[in-house]
């Protein structure tokens, strides 16, 4: 019961933040709504027993990545976006399209939900850092090492792209 109430509350906050992201014209308001979405998603991860994922959701996503976004918005002094012909077409075609997409997927999922079953707040310390680390540094060691190369390439790419040409 508590689980359901918490899920509904945070799920609604999540969807409201996502809708607000689309409604707002100014990118800084959109960025702040995205922070709300990510924070409530972190709480939903906690409900699913994913403590480590919830922590890195807050630290990496709501912290590092969104600070980068806000920083770029401030740096470029981005103003409100203007409506163009393309965005009007996207509005008239996109709203029914997205409503249909979400509706069909939601209907299918709810319809076949009986076969799936439920998830519970796990009382066992299922997703805590210890268990994730054991998997990450043993079974997924090679992918983990490869991501460090990926990060290195991304850093070099960002430096090269951000450099002023003269």
């Amino acid at each position: 019961m508590v689980h359901q109430v918490l899920f509904i509350v945070f799920g609604l906050i999540c969807v409201a933040g996502a809708v607000n992201l689309l409604v707002q014209r100014h990118p800084i308001n959109s960025a702040l709504s995205l922070v709300v979405v990510m924070a409530s998603l972190a709480l939903i991860y906690l409900l699913l027993g994913a403590e480590f994922v919830a922590a890195i959701q807050v630290i990496v996503y709501a912290g590092a990545i969104m600070v980068l976004f806000v920083f770029v918005i401030m740096l470029l002094n981005a103003g409100s976006e203007e409506r163009t012909r393309g965005s009007r077409i996207a509005l008239f075609v996109g709203v029914p399209g997205v409503a249909a997409l979400a509706g069909i997927v939601a209907w299918l999922l709810v319809h076949s939900g009986g076969q799936l079953g439920g998830v519970t707040i796990s009382s066992s310390n299922f997703g805590e850092t210890h268990n994730v680390a054991r998997l990450l540094f043993r079974d997924f060691l090679l992918p983990f090492e490869v991501t460090s190369v990926l990060i290195l390439i991304a850093i070099m790419g960002a430096v090269v792209l951000g450099r002023r040409e003269n």
Partner: protein
């Protein structure tokens, strides 16, 4: 106990809103944020399924070997890739703004700088 389908429906709604934002928005930074929203929606379904396989190991088809926690590890990798993507993407946005003085994607229609 919450049905797994609720989590998947929330994930589908967030993903659809991300797709919609990608189509609707004209500001390149907001488009980028819509992509992040889609990545988050996918992460939610990964975590929901990880919990599901943990609490219902019997539902797995015989012969399928799934470590439930690998959903969490996948979310970790998605976040790493998202961080790398954000760094490179925002650098590209800064480079585009420097040469074109605009963030509107309708006015950014040439690949050459």
């Amino acid at each position: 106990m919450v049905p797994l389908s609720w989590y998947l429906v929330l994930s589908a709604i967030l993903f659809s809103l991300g797709v919609f934002g990608f189509l609707l928005k004209r500001n390149i930074i907001t488009i980028f944020m819509s992509i992040e929203l889609m990545l988050n929606a996918v992460n939610l379904s990964f975590v929901a399924f990880a919990n599901f396989w943990h609490s219902h190991p019997a539902k797995l088809a015989s012969g399928v070997d799934v470590v439930p926690l690998s959903g969490h590890v996948f979310v970790f990798f998605v976040m790493v890739v998202a961080a790398a993507e954000a760094a490179v993407g925002l650098a590209i946005i800064i480079a585009v703004f420097r040469t074109r003085e605009t963030l509107n994607v309708d006015q950014v229609n040439l690949l050459k700088l």
